[in-house]
């Protein structure tokens, strides 16, 4: 951990109003300023890595809203994540982490295989029965929550279905690589299909290498830096085999991680080059809004947009998705209050810290209700999972869509 990064915090408190957990608790220990101070005091030897200290730090969502608010460029979320990762790394991977992070996540086939029983569980009606009987109540709370988050799974993951090369529709403008996020492929495959269709319709040849692996974000979370670097090297090699204008993703979380490959592999020019080519889908579509606009058919809906942390705070993308939505004729756009405040999903946070996650989710839902929107649009699978469930439970009249699903529908591509 770089000590200067810690002392760069001048404790001005500008981050406090942006922090979802501070807004809920008003506690300095639950604020970015407080977290930086705690980590700093550990580094300085004034505090031990006590259970309580780790508990305080674990309340951080790593949403990085604080980084957007910080005048001095301190990223408290990232600092806490780094601290936690380094600590976990020094302890070594546990049995479960080893199993999941090293043997499952980096191997798309195994990952997809692991979903088969779930799909069967849903398809055979077992899910309905289990839910009805409340059998899950007998299992650990975490399992029940995980089960509840899952929407109906597509028959097959997109990775297995999509062609490696999707030709440009009409005159070819260029070639892009498509980075298919694990969750997008496994759960929100329709949205990623829409993404590919939009890219192709705008004249891009879209290459989706089948051998690509998970971006490595789960490894970072689990304290497995080596695994993350391994994933980065694999993906860099795979995409280096093509001549690409951009590497596009429609998963905010993947995008944020992919853009940091250069940072993870310092001194590696290929990693630097890879990171520089990564774009969120909204960035690419917004480049061609002039071409896109005339193809859009009216969508008579009131729509609002939730900024995923990984898109707004980690990548600084806020303008493009809104501009794209405003292109759609007939669509009424209503800005969401606290649009760039976390929804409480935050990786595995909604499983690990259900209480705080729910409080943050409910604040988000109240803002969505106040916007009067019929459709909530967003751009990250974590948010899609969390908010889909939240809306179904509390605001069933509001639908949720990925940005590209809505645009593809308006463009007659879905």
């Amino acid at each position: 951990m770089d000590y200067v990064k810690l002392i760069n915090c001048m404790r001005c408190g500008m981050c406090l109003p942006s922090c979802p957990t501070y807004k809920e608790t008003f506690l300095e220990t639950a604020s970015p300023r407080g977290r930086v101070a705690l980590v700093r005091k550990v580094q300085e030897g004034e505090l031990d890595q006590s259970e309580r200290l780790l508990e305080y730090l674990s309340l951080c969502l790593d949403c990085q809203a604080c980084a957007s608010a910080c005048p001095c460029g301190v990223n408290a979320g990232e600092l806490v994540a780094e601290f936690t990762c380094e600590r976990k790394e020094s302890l070594g991977l546990g049995f479960m982490e080893e199993l999941v992070l090293r043997r499952l996540v980096p191997h798309p086939d195994r990952l997809e295989g692991s979903m088969t029983p779930l799909r069967a569980y849903q398809k055979t009606g077992l899910q309905k029965l289990v839910r009805k009987l409340g059998v899950l109540k007998m299992f650990p709370k975490k399992l029940e929550r995980m089960e509840g988050l899952l929407p109906e799974l597509p028959a097959r993951p997109l990775r297995q279905e999509i062609m490696e090369v999707t030709p440009a529709a009409g005159t070819e403008r260029g070639t892009v690589g498509f980075f298919l996020g694990c969750v997008m492929s496994l759960i929100f495959s329709e949205a990623s299909r829409a993404t590919i269709n939009l890219l192709s319709s705008l004249g891009y040849r879209v290459i989706t290498p089948r051998s690509q692996v998970c971006c490595g974000a789960p490894n970072m979370l689990g304290g497995d830096l080596e695994g993350l670097k391994e994933a980065a090297r694999t993906n860099i090699d795979i995409f280096a085999g093509y001549d690409l204008d951009f590497i596009v993703t429609d998963c905010g979380g993947c995008g944020a991680e992919l853009k940091k490959y250069g940072h993870h592999l310092p001194g590696d020019p290929a990693a630097e080059a890879f990171g520089a080519k990564v774009r969120d889908i909204a960035q690419v579509l917004a480049l061609h809004s002039g071409d896109l606009a005339p193809r859009l058919q009216p969508v008579d809906l009131k729509v609002t947009y939730h900024d995923p942390c990984h898109i707004a705070h980690c990548q600084g993308i806020r303008r493009e998705p809104r501009e794209l939505l405003r292109l759609v004729p007939g669509l009424t756009y209503a800005e969401l209050a606290e649009a760039d405040s976390c929804c409480g999903s935050a990786g595995t946070y909604n499983i690990a810290r259900p209480g705080m996650s729910d409080r943050i989710l409910h604040r988000k839902l109240a803002n969505i209700a106040a916007s009067g929107a019929e459709v909530l649009v967003t751009g990250n699978p974590g948010c899609l999972l969390q908010l889909r469930k939240g809306l179904a439970d509390h605001l069933p009249h509001v639908r949720i869509m990925h940005l590209t699903e809505l645009l593809a529908r308006s463009a007659g591509l879905a």
């Binding site: 002392i7 760069n8 001048m10 404790r11 001005c12 008003f26 506690l27 300095e28 004034e46 006590s50």
Partner: protein, 457 residues
């Protein structure tokens, strides 16, 4: 702190809102003041004014000190407990109690965030002008206790100009009500002005009633570059002399301009000595006329570039340079010492020269920006707390700056308060008699000395 005492605090505010673990105490040992740290014995977050009164009575009985804390953004060490006492954080007291549109007042609890009040009153066509740079997080209680100013101070004044009524818990836990919704009130001593800027040393505010005014209907934003500092200062004086009182009249000096340009690339030239950001507001007919007058004056004083924003977006762009000043400076070095020496506005140019000379003499980097219109400057020293020699030189430079401010008929602090940080300088400004009178007032309010000890003097 004794467990039995902590238990008594717990009985008042509840388990969840009583903090005494090492980790919590560690993060209530600082506020936004550089270099200062001092751990409290306990921290409580009361949920009502009544709980505040009970905490105060308890501490009074036990002889334990109480330090009020809003968001801990003050720049003078005011919210730190110097003798392991109880820090009382007001964040839960965050209700806007009433907006009275007939009497044009707002009554709030002390933990209300300044910009939350702005949003609420502006949605009703009303206006609460004080807008400290920290308004998105500072609390109303903190603003009153520090008499905070802001960018609109020149035309609209500071927090003190808006405080009409206060509900204050005194050191022994009894409650004092001063002022109210009346515009005129000469019954007895005026207590509000005493309590405003008392930095938590005279009483604990639990209710605050402020004056509101109608929201100005229009605003014109302008930006002017000046190759010579002297010309910028002359333009400032000439604008006021022309009987135009801009809402905002802000200046950036050469060091700040360079930093802003490097960081935000807003198109500032690197060869000018000063940039002025000027905003006039009010009736559209008046603002249009005033904007023309401002333009004419800036050009007369050899402004090399002048721009009037045509749209709200453009206005935001012009204001970017000023808004990013602190960020741009703060990024350069780990430690940022932000001061607020204030002089009569006619002394802006000599004061800027004093600052530049002091920085050069002591070999430190100081960028200055601030409220040129009201003489309140923010010389900001960029340093590194690990370099003790440089820190020493920075303080030596500031000592010269403060002495110069006093000599020009100014003050050592225009809005950040004395707290711990400027104790040393207060006697130089107010003299022995000033300190004696202030001590007398402190004694009258708090004979046991339990309210925020160690501050001001």
């Amino acid at each position: 702190m004794q467990q039995s005492f902590i238990n008594e605090l717990r009985n008042i505010v509840g388990e969840q809102y009583t903090l005494a673990d090492r980790e919590s105490l560690a993060v209530y040992g600082y506020d936004s003041t550089p270099e200062l740290e001092s751990l409290p014995g306990a921290v409580v977050l009361p949920g009502s004014g009544e709980e505040v009164a009970r905490i105060m009575a308890l501490c009074h009985g036990a002889g334990v000190s109480v330090t009020p804390r809003g968001s801990g953004t003050n720049l003078s060490g005011g919210s730190l407990s110097v003798n392991s006492g109880v820090v009382v954080q007001t964040s839960r007291l965050n209700r806007i109690v009433e907006i009275d549109e007939e009497n044009l007042t707002a009554t709030v609890e002390p933990g209300v965030i300044t910009s939350a009040l702005h949003r609420e009153v502006e949605s009703r066509g009303l206006f609460y002008p004080p807008d400290p740079g920290s308004m998105n997080i500072s609390t109303m209680g903190g603003n009153v206790a520090e008499n905070s100013g802001g960018l609109r101070g020149l035309k609209y004044g500071v927090t003190a100009d808006y405080v009409m009524g206060l509900e204050t818990v005194l050191a022994d836990g009894t409650v004092l009500r001063s002022g109210g919704k009346v515009v005129k009130d000469v019954a007895g001593y005026s207590l509000n002005p005493l309590l405003v800027s008392s930095e938590g040393t005279l009483g604990f505010f639990t209710g605050i009633t402020v004056k509101l005014i109608p929201r100005p209907r229009s605003k014109v934003t302008m930006l002017a570059h000046f190759p010579a500092l002297q010309d910028a200062a002359l333009a400032v004086s000439a604008i006021i002399a022309a009987k135009v009182i801009p809402a905002t009249l802000e200046i950036l000096d050469r060091v700040t301009i360079r930093c802003v340009e490097e960081y935000a690339h807003v198109g500032l030239p690197l060869d000018v000595d000063a940039v002025l950001l000027i905003e006039v507001d009010g009736h559209p007919a008046v603002t249009a006329e005033e904007a023309l007058a401002v333009e004419e004056i800036c050009k007369r004083y050899r402004s090399s570039f002048f721009q009037t924003a045509a749209t709200a977006d453009e206005a935001l762009k012009l204001a970017t340079a000023r808004r990013t000043a602190l960020s741009a400076l703060a990024r350069l070095k780990p430690t940022t010492i932000l001061e607020d020496a204030t002089v009569p506005r006619s002394c802006i140019a000599p004061m800027l020269q004093v600052i530049q000379a002091a920085a050069a003499k002591h070999n430190v980097t100081i960028g200055t920006f601030g409220h040129a219109g009201d003489g309140n400057l923010h010389p900001t020293c960029l340093t590194d707390e690990r370099d003790q020699d440089e820190i020493k030189r920075a303080h030596a430079a500031f000592e010269e700056i403060f002495d110069a401010a006093i000599a020009m008929g100014g003050t050592i602090t225009g809005e950040h308060g004395v707290g711990i940080a400027k104790k040393k300088y207060l006697p130089r400004l107010v003299g022995e008699s000033g300190i004696r009178v202030m001590r007398g007032i402190k004694n009258a309010f708090d004979p046991k000395g339990i309210l925020n000890p160690g501050k001001v003097f």
